[in-house]
Symmetry: C2
Subunit: 436 residues, 2 copies
């Protein structure tokens, strides 16, 4: 799909919004990507953007770009339910989360709120995969993945603690970016885990990059963190010298079709002159692999402790309202205790040290974004095993919709170094251009 | 004043609460420490604590301890107004902030909300100093300082971005703790600056310590940060080998009475065998002094950028509702921009590096908590020049009510190393015991 920003050179925001609304009308009854839509507000915003563009005074390059927002992120004009029955009848919060404030200031159009699992943790929602409605879109940014994958919006916001941006991106055939921890301001109510990142799903890398840039320019990252500062575009395509191929704990359970798809892409990269190293050829990669094999357990414990507030407060105040999976996470945190949590924080630090030790050797890591195509059924959102390492490393990761398994989309994942989104974007750009 | 926890060995929570309520009734009409009080809720909680203690099953050592809470911290049962006219008619948020959830679970009694300047930034409130009602109690934790200083409550929660815990502690004659950044969970709506800490004001060090401990045991620190883990008591009194005497940017404007009070205490410490080094005798201290001279400018810029959300969102949504000082802070942030912010973050990091370089040489730093006694009038809350360094260093600091200037309280400040609250508590304990 071509860049939405490129389309804005030739068509008005209002006309392009109407195309999005038409796609939503056609696909939403089957896909259930949205929990709330604001077509009239969006039309008014699109008309204002159209007028600004016609007058030659757009607020930013993304003035007039429609965007869908995961329902963990507060918006002043639409309710925020956090995917939870506990908030089914709550009046909407009266404020814009930090990225929403920034996007509105840049002229972006907040078109609707998308389905999330409960607090990004608990039970899945009703959303279906746009490429095969018998399958999950992934989670927890389920609706954001489906909305972009179906062409309802060019860009959507998600959040990722484990695999909640890269997995739906993989399953829905979109690009997904999970930035360095702290690099995009998460100011909002829920979901303040120490691995949680605001992420972006988009059909086009340039659109995605522009949205990240415009957010960071206005509200930066989380307080005290170096913000996303990788320029307004993904950067000139750059061929990496060396990539580390990671298996993660996911390789043994990856589908044969997924393994083949990755190998085909790796052979192609190799043929284009990219040096590939892996656990067999590099002791440093082997050390990193050994550590990230535990990323899932480490993350689950840390997330459990960090859910004691605010989710535990909700559980106390509204007993019986939370999903079983959310309650299980709370139980994990309570069982862990303070000392257990501190131990896990130190173990998590060691993962990042192992990655940083590879900085002299490699440009980035490369792996699958999921063990295969989206599973059949919507009772689960699939396995995050390939995504948790980048979350625990708190490093940037990008999923590119370059693979195919069983005739369905599958993501190719790149993991970069902290705050080095610019380098990662240039590599991603080159791989997109030169892929099979 | 003796430890409240010691009193609980001999009197019931209900009886001790009634003594607090009697003091509040006597002093509150003059001091205006509170914006909201919940005597009936507190009595019910005290009765429950009394019953648990009589049954030999207290929830924790602080079961039955009454506590006042700065009005930047959300409470499920009392409104939260952030000291701002913008929230004068807002319905109360429906949740307990992380430390409140923890304190209730430990049996502490949330007695009321205390006056703060607007968002901890803007104009001062009506609170007066309990030792001289013609004077300010300091800010922004104005009501928390006054409430503890007047004996209305044994402990109060505050927050500090610049000097908002240590300064009111100094002016009101209480102990104040600002922990390492991130060491006590700040989960709440407002005030998420990257220097902001949940702080504690108390008449007694053991009471203060127990409150910090019980919070950390239940909700830890901010997500991803090493929590306060310094034990349930301040630790055995420990004589420091070497202290670095800091002037900070405040020395040239400190009152003669404040300087004399500090020198008298330093002479006493020296006579007790503590080695004192300073900028004249130690190049490393001189280097730290040079850097922390800029702590005020660095902090103001960082706080300005970090106020763009959430305060900037409120300013946009409720124009004209914010105090001039709050608007000025926003203007500072807007003028700074993203690159300026990143530059200031890196400069701030250099302060901490200069302190860490002193770790082999010293046990802690020592200085005044304020340039003098509380100023006359309540139009300003006094000067934070002696407090900003510890805030920018993001290190723990304790103010001890050991000095006197013009017949009024003045704090002696100790600054420790990151996450080394246990060591700092032992030194504070020794200085309290051995002070002039």
């Amino acid at each position: 799909m071509p860049s939405f920003l490129a389309k804005l050179q030739h068509a008005s925001p209002r006309a392009l919004l109407e195309a999005c609304l038409a796609t939503i009308e056609a696909r939403e009854p089957e896909l259930h990507a949205f929990v709330a839509l604001n077509p009239e507000g969006a039309r008014a915003a699109a008309d204002a953007a159209t007028a600004r563009r016609q007058a030659g005074r757009p607020l930013s390059p993304i003035d007039g770009l429609p965007i869908a927002v995961k329902d963990l992120i507060e918006t002043a004009d639409l309710p925020t339910r956090f995917g939870s029955a506990a908030f089914a009848h709550t009046p909407p919060p009266r404020r814009d989360a930090a990225p929403i404030m920034a996007l509105r200031a840049a002229g972006a159009i907040i078109l609707g709120k998308t389905v999330t699992t409960e607090f990004g943790v608990g039970g899945p929602g009703p959303t279906r995969n746009p490429h095969d409605p018998t399958r999950t879109p992934g989670g927890s940014s389920s609706g954001s993945g489906a909305a972009v994958g179906a062409g309802m919006v060019p860009v959507a916001l998600g959040t990722q603690v484990g695999g909640s941006v890269l997995r739906p991106a993989s399953f829905c055939g979109t690009i997904g970016l999970k930035p360095t921890y702290g690099a995009l301001n998460r100011g909002q109510l829920s979901d303040q885990y120490s691995q949680n990142c605001l992420g972006i799903l988009a059909a086009d890398l340039s659109d995605l990059w522009a949205v990240a840039h415009e957010i960071a320019q206005r509200v930066g990252g989380d307080p005290g963190h170096i913000p996303f500062n990788a320029g307004p575009t993904p950067g000139f395509p750059h061929r990496p010298t060396t990539l580390a191929v990671l298996e993660t704990a996911g390789w043994p359970i990856a589908d044969e079709s997924a393994r083949s798809a990755l190998h085909r892409q790796l052979d192609h990269l190799s043929a284009r002159g990219v040096r590939l190293i892996d656990r067999a050829s590099s002791p440093r990669v082997a050390h990193l692999e050994t550590l990230i094999a535990d990323a899932g357990d480490i993350s689950t414990g840390i997330n459990g402790w960090e859910s004691l507030w605010p989710i535990g407060e909700i559980a106390d105040r509204l007993p019986g309202k939370l999903h079983t999976r959310t309650e299980e996470l709370l139980a994990t945190g309570r069982a862990l205790g303070l000392d257990g949590y501190i131990t896990l924080l130190r173990r998590r630090d060691s993962l990042r040290e192992a990655l940083l030790a590879l900085a002299p050797d490699i440009d980035a890591c490369i792996t699958l974004s999921a063990p295969g195509a989206a599973p059949i059924g919507i009772e689960t959102t699939g396995n995050a095993v390939f995504n948790v390492p980048a979350s625990a490393l708190r490093c940037p990761a990008i999923s590119l919709p370059l693979l195919e398994a069983d005739g369905l989309p599958l993501g190719l994942q790149l993991i970069g170094f902290p705050n080095a989104e610019r380098a990662l974007g240039s590599i991603a750009n080159w791989i997109l251009e030169s892929a099979v």
